[in-house]
Symmetry: C2
Subunit: 516 residues, 2 copies
């Protein structure tokens, strides 16, 4: 049993009510009234599905990430062989298409299967919360992976993590409220807290290699002495944290660490907004050798993955209902879906729903049916979906290790000029420039700019840490890093080449007296 969390909901959110002009009369019917057994509708402005131009959809899937590249290579090989033995190889396939798929999902206009969203439903107006089977999927998935410690939680779909974070801010932050944020973070969050007219306060990150991200000593000190340290600010209403594979640093908080943060949240009565866009991509530790596809091949079972690889969410510690977990399908399925979900206390979800009726009328039904019907129509539900995640995770592991291997082999690393943090999850690596002597903050910032130009000149795009600082002055002394992301590369060769260019650039930067 949780306490009420009403005092944690913003006044703005509390003031909204939900109603619709097509609702049935609210007063009691007159005597003698009985509902008609088969009422007809002249009420809703919903076009009948017969007006929809799409009659059915075939969604053709790959069995594993990058299968299409393997197929292309295989086709290329067989074409080459054909070309060697015959001159008539061009007729193979019309317009490069006409591929036959053994792994398709057909979406029809009407079906009675309750686990499927058909076109007559998916293309129609729908609840802001989301279509039933997909909403149920998000709950079943959370129960399987991060079962909440209280039982008053609910789920709602969003149009992605950004939408989820903006809605979380709206639900809990009053104008003038303070929100604590990891000092380097997914910076658009500040846009959302600004929109709620809240005040962002950065929390130091511990940059040691065995760090959990947040500098816990700093956070405790700050909270316990808030009125002395921040005399003009109210005590924090919320903490925003990317607790697994933090963006940009890649750090992951252990469960023991989370328990201590959660204790602080209880003691000081603040909300935890847990953003977890890629935490399911857990990554084994680098093995000190050049990785191959085989060396990171997953022999992890789903149960083993959940029990021993996945870091528990704050939800699993949350007895009060003060955790808002923001998820997205962007990294595990595709960003263009604009689809995600939020798990939180039912009162908070209700506030988010009422806001959703203002700022967007729910996620695309087409996106919803694509995910839902792939998951239920092909992968086989929650565990099938986790199976897909394990394949993603395997590929990301390989990429991470390839990038780390390239850096570890570099001259710059061997000379101790750079360091790198091996992430336990996600898609980001902190790449530190290890200035060999202490120096003033403003010099670090200036040198990092020179280093960035060098890196760009050598042909790699990276994100300087300072670009992601909530308060670049506050964080200047800890800005000596670039965020590296191994997600966008087209293939493994690009990752290796990127790592080489990057470390060559930094070596050149040092050889040139820490200048461009």
């Amino acid at each position: 049993m949780t306490k009420s969390v009403d005092h944690l909901i913003s006044e703005r959110a509390k003031s909204r009510v939900s109603s619709h002009f097509t609702s049935a009369p609210s007063e009691a019917p007159p005597s003698g009234f009985k509902p008609h057994p088969k009422p007809l509708l002249l009420s809703y402005g919903t076009p009948n599905n017969g007006f929809f131009p799409i009659d059915s959809l075939d969604i053709n899937l790959v069995h594993y990430p990058f299968e299409h590249q393997d197929k292309k290579e295989a086709r290329g090989e067989s074409l080459k062989r054909l070309a060697a033995s015959s001159s008539n190889s061009a007729s193979n396939g019309k317009n490069g298409k006409a591929e036959s798929y053994d792994n398709s999902v057909e979406v029809v206009r009407h079906t009675q299967d309750p686990s499927i969203v058909d076109l007559s439903t998916g293309l129609q107006y729908a609840n802001v919360e989301g279509h039933k089977p997909l909403l149920q999927f998000t709950k079943d998935f959370i129960k399987r992976t991060h079962n909440p410690a209280h039982d008053q939680w609910e789920s709602i779909l969003t149009t992605g993590a950004s939408d989820g974070l903006n809605k979380a801010c709206d639900a809990v932050l009053n104008p003038g409220d303070v929100v604590l944020i990891e000092e380097f973070t997914f910076l658009p969050f500040v846009r959302f807290s600004d929109h709620a007219q809240a005040i962002p306060v950065p929390v130091k990150i511990d940059f040691s290699n065995e760090s959990n991200g947040i500098d816990l000593g700093y956070l405790r000190e700050l909270l316990d002495n808030w009125h002395d340290l921040k005399p003009n600010l109210p005590k924090p209403k919320a903490l925003y944290t990317i607790a697994t594979g933090q963006n940009p640093t890649g750090y992951t908080q252990t469960v023991e660490f989370r328990k201590q943060v959660y204790e602080l949240a209880e003691k000081h009565d603040f909300i935890i907004i847990e953003d977890d866009p890629y935490g399911y991509l857990t990554l084994p530790k680098y093995q000190h050798q050049r990785p191959t596809n085989d060396s990171v091949k997953s022999d992890v079972t789903i149960d083993d993955y959940i029990a021993n690889h996945l870091t528990p969410s704050y939800l699993e510690l949350d007895t009060t209902g003060r955790v808002i977990r923001v998820e997205t399908f962007s990294k595990l399925f595709a960003p263009g879906l604009r689809l995600g979900f939020i798990i939180a206390h039912a009162s908070i979800i209700k506030a988010i729903k009422n806001y959703g009726e203002v700022v967007n009328r729910g996620a695309s039904g087409l996106s919803q049916l694509a995910v839902n019907n792939v998951v239920y129509g092909k992968l086989g539900g929650v565990d099938g979906w986790i199976g897909w995640i394990l394949k993603m995770r395997q590929r990301y592991s390989l990429r991470k290790d390839l990038l780390l291997h390239t850096i570890y082999q570099s001259e710059a690393y061997k000379q101790g000029l750079v360091d790198v943090i091996d992430p336990k999850a996600g898609m980001f690596v902190t790449f530190k420039i290890k200035f060999l002597d202490a120096r003033p903050e403003n010099e670090i910032v200036a040198k990092m700019k020179q280093a960035l130009w060098k890196v760009i000149n050598f042909g790699v795009a990276v994100v300087p840490g300072s670009n992601m600082a909530v308060d670049s002055k506050f964080s200047a002394a800890r800005s000596n890093f670039f965020r590296l992301c191994y997600a966008p590369a087209n293939d493994d060769a690009e990752i290796v080449e990127s790592g080489k260019r990057l470390t060559d650039a930094i070596l050149d930067f040092y050889n040139n007296g820490e200048k461009f």
Copy 2:
């Protein structure tokens, strides 16, 4: 040349800036810097499209609305014939699927065709504004149908009309600003103006049969004597109008009427927010006979449709850049796409874009690619899309006329107890209860509730006008109507049956002394 519209943009919108942490350095590069010819990306957190599980999509279309019903009937017939001549008819089609489509669009992972949104683009992160070809389509479509009178207009995609309206409110309404609204309206708009902390003021509707909707004399009087009539309110900042096939009344403003309203907007310096979700569904006048599929068959050419059937938008009169036109694909393609667009002055579109970066990160790419690739890959672009609209329009005309015919043939109509307004566009009909003598306002409201229960009891759902009143007290005297919508019915027979039940219910209501 338009004047600047900056004074019409809200302070809230002006205060927002757009920036992203992955942007390149803004300062000048150091001397000796040259951009790399083939830079690699370790920057963006965008998963490579090789991580997307969908490899291709087949979108199977109908040639005209409700074709699937005709096909089903035809299949039913041929199955019956088969059953009569043979006992082996069940093998015809496996699981009811395996239909062969001659009207499909294939969406592949990669294409070089600039008019197509492929999967590697459509499933990826994208600009808030929308994918290029679809954004270009919205502009070409507007140029063809409602060419704006000034040349500083732009387009931006939305997640549907509601999102568009909320964004329009955010862009122009400051807290305390007044927005004029047709007294009966799409009521969620008030939620959006509330969200902008604006003050809604209803404008009387003229309920005569040849009305243009808004009571122009009332509006002019109100504006010219604003400070006397509304001493505590600032002059209006905006007018919200559904000018074609108004919701709920069905009225359409003629172009001459719009010119007079636009003159008032110029004189009193307010914005016109033109909401037009179904105005393309222009409807011929009822022909005083039972309509058949043939009698409303469209022999209208696209040029004729645009020149003589489509009512000009306020955009076409707008020399100042004060018109915000909100469109949606919900009624013409499908609501579940959550896809629409806004046409307005470039400064207003920029404000809307900055807001879009807060409240949702653009429309679903899957929805965008579905519409774009159907339009460009199958229908043949703008005129092909208008061709589809003409087919929709033909079907809606038939439905409208069937409903009107049923009402005109009813005993209640013949006895002069009810009246109905023949709409020139859209999907709504005003169904008036003609109380035969004058009566106090509160009695009208009470009687309409009794009539509603009767209608529900007879098995039809309708929307009472009072449910859609901005201020139900202000509009009580004009609340003696139901909104009828012929869009949701499954077939023509349902429309006829609904009309019968409705008119029978009202006859019974009168026969029972205007009581349930």
